[in-house]
Amino acid sequence: MSPDSSQRNEPRVCWSRRHLLGLEDLSREEILTILETAERFVEVGERRRKKRSTLAGKVVVNLFFEPSTRTKTSFALAARRLGADTLDFSSSGSSTSKGETFIDTAKNIEAMGVDLMVVRHASAGAPHLLAQQLQCSIINAGDGAHEHPTQGLLDIFTIRQKKGRLEGLTVALVGDILHSRVARSNIHGLVKLGAHVIVCGPSTLVPPLITELKVEISHNLDAILPRCDVVNMLRIQFERQRSGLFPSVAEYARLFAMDGARLKKAKPDLLLLAPGPINRGVEITPEVADGPNSAILQQVANGLAVRMAVLQLLCGQPGEIET
């Protein structure tokens, strides 16, 4: 429960966007607006009557050209809880397999009267293309190795919830930084909100120029671990990599996996996140994933609130937050 409950009915609303394409585009105030809106939905989620009607009559489409479990389900549930009609579209078994282009597919679906599309695509920039070509609102649910803004937001939301602040925290993003859209969204959001970010991984998976995003680079997890308040274990993006970026999964795990022994070197209250899906035993051992420092399942629960907040801000009337 946040301390300013007396003011809860008049949230600071700083929002005029039609699309959510990435956290790089957002100001600190806009990010805070989403986080504060999400807080109110967490409370709604704890009530018995969970369903709202602020998006009644709106149509939200999940347009997923890449596999997803968590994100897709989370968006669908978030939209339904706000009273929207939802529609799921996956690329397999559709006209894209008959050669229809991605843009034509999206335009045809939009013509059915869609207000908002949640887009996941293996190509970086695909949601940006739709934002230019279509009339409806677009949420980027992961574009290639670029951004995954709602994942970044829910990670940041979980850190704020558990630690009570972001300013001054040291947050390490560990693993495949080069191919990770989650890393980019986390970096843009965390840096804007005053956290110190360390990116840590094999030197073949951490682009040196990433220091331009105001982060510290490390290739030694054991060395940085004692300083960290939060560690976010990113998944190795086997599907996006070319081969030969590290010698073996075993060597990767030896250097960068979070196991019980390594965890002992960290602060006792270290908060451990993982965006999922995790490769158990590669990035994180099962006993750590299921242990007391882990907030992995909390992240999933928060994901719903964050996505309700984003849908509300993009699709609902500004300021009209029914609680």
Binding site: H121, G125, I210
Partner: protein
């Protein structure tokens, strides 16, 4: 035969160190005289007061797509675009379907160009059969068919051994081998220049080193063989420096640059617009400065467009799925005027040299001069005309330009090929 006078223009012809306001006289498709000739009575006069009159421009690196990809461009539409851009002569790349790797294919290009009746076209032949990089193409036959240079273009010759033999073999015909310098292993899956922007945008990068290692390899092979090497579209500061040092050492190497690499950087990809996707990719501001310096000190001999037309449906795609390439014939002169002449990097005389006599020398062709007796290929440029680039007005079949909406100054006014007015702007 009717006598034509282009009167009172600023006649710039670097092939004869000419830059003064005077008259150009044309008869029977040939240049007959330059200068005030009160003794001659013209049948027709083109007033060129305030305009630049120069040899018809030459673009030695264009893709006309015919045969095989006529949905993008044809020899007729591509040469119409050439004229609109001030080019009376183009050399077209052999990456057609089928590839121009034999004498008949080269002769087909001449035939289609003649049917179109626009600009002069010279075919560039494949250096290996089918552009496969395995065996030398029948270069002798291609020379017989009129090919002026040899390359597999965007399928760079991977084998150093084959490249060595190509340089050696072409030496026999005094023809250059054109190198698209790219180490394909280093650029595999790449979309744009590897740097800050590729990192931010989550796009796979193509490091400048991929260009530099191949330029270095080919320079060493040119040194070994004494063959004539021409580096296509150099885009990196390191590449310019390698060519500069090779020239100092006396290696037989020339180089070209494309206009887009002189005015745009990788930051242009921020909107994921595929009209900024080409190969080699847009690089950094430091690379742009190095390319301009290379033009100024003569390291880079030629400016060419790498005109790469692509139908809208091919480009209107996810950025990583869209093919590389942009059109450039109709924007080269105004873009170079803005990037080079406006800021004082090059004079008009120097720019025109890189668009006339320099490519003519590399290709060993007779065009690019206003010497009396030469074919009367003439371009008249209005250096003061201000306009906005609008691809919907292009003569090319394709619209994939990165310069849409750019405000420019200088415009092609009139173009003559063999004494005949083929374009009026």
């Amino acid at each position: 035969m009717s006598l034509l006078c282009i009167r009172n223009g600023r006649v710039i012809d670097p092939s004869q160190e000419l830059d003064r306001v005077t008259d150009v006289w044309i008869q029977g498709g040939k240049i007959v005289a330059i200068g005030a000739r009160p003794d001659l009575l013209p049948r027709q006069v083109l007033d060129a007061t305030g305009k630049i009159v120069c040899p018809g421009l030459i673009d030695m690196h264009v893709h006309l797509r015919e045969p095989g990809r006529e949905e993008d461009e044809t020899i007729a539409s591509g040469t119409a675009a050439a004229l609109a851009g001030g080019f009376t002569t183009v050399a077209c790349m052999p990456n057609t379907e089928p590839a121009i790797d034999n004498q008949a294919a080269a002769e087909f290009v001449f035939l289609q160009a003649e049917r179109a009746g626009n600009a002069n076209v010279y075919p560039i032949g494949c250096v290996t059969k089918g552009r496969k990089g395995a065996e030398l193409a029948e270069i002798g036959g291609l020379v017989e068919g009129g090919a002026v240079a040899f390359t597999d273009d965007d399928s760079p010759v991977v084998s150093a051994e084959i490249m060595r033999r190509a340089l050696e073999y072409c030496r026999m015909f005094d023809k250059p081998v054109l190198s698209h310098a790219e180490d394909l292993e280093l650029t595999r899956g790449g979309i744009m220049h590897e740097g800050t922007w590729s990192m931010r945008l989550g796009l796979r990068g193509m490091p400048a080193a991929a260009e530099e290692v191949m330029i270095h390899r080919d320079i060493e092979l040119a040194r070994l063989t004494g063959g004539r090497l021409h580096i296509l579209h150099v885009s990196s500061a390191g590449g310019v420096e390698l060519i500069r040092r090779a020239k100092e050492r006396g290696v037989n190497v020339t180089a070209e640059v494309n206009p887009h690499h002189l005015v745009l950087t990788d930051a242009a990809l921020a909107g994921y617009d595929s009209n900024f996707k080409m190969n080699p990719p847009l690089r950094t501001a430091a690379d742009v400065l190095a390319l301009i310096a290379g033009l100024k000190d003569g390291t880079i001999d030629v400016i060419s467009s790498d005109h790469s037309p692509l139908a809208a449906e091919k480009k209107m795609r996810e950025l990583d799925q869209a093919p590389f390439g942009i059109v450039g014939l109709e924007t080269l002169v105004p873009v170079c005027a803005a990037a080079l002449v406006g800021p004082g990097h090059l004079s008009w005389r120097q720019l025109i040299e890189k668009l006339t006599v320099a490519p003519a020398r590399i290709l060993g062709i007779e065009q690019g001069t206003l010497q009396p007796g030469a074919e009367a290929d003439v371009t008249i440029i209005d250096p003061e005309a201000e306009w906005t680039i609008d691809p919907s007005a292009f003569r090319s079949k394709s619209r994939n330009s990165p310069f849409t909406g750019m405000k420019v100054r200088s415009r092609i006014q009139t173009v003559l090929v063999a004494g005949e007015i083929r374009f009026e702007g």
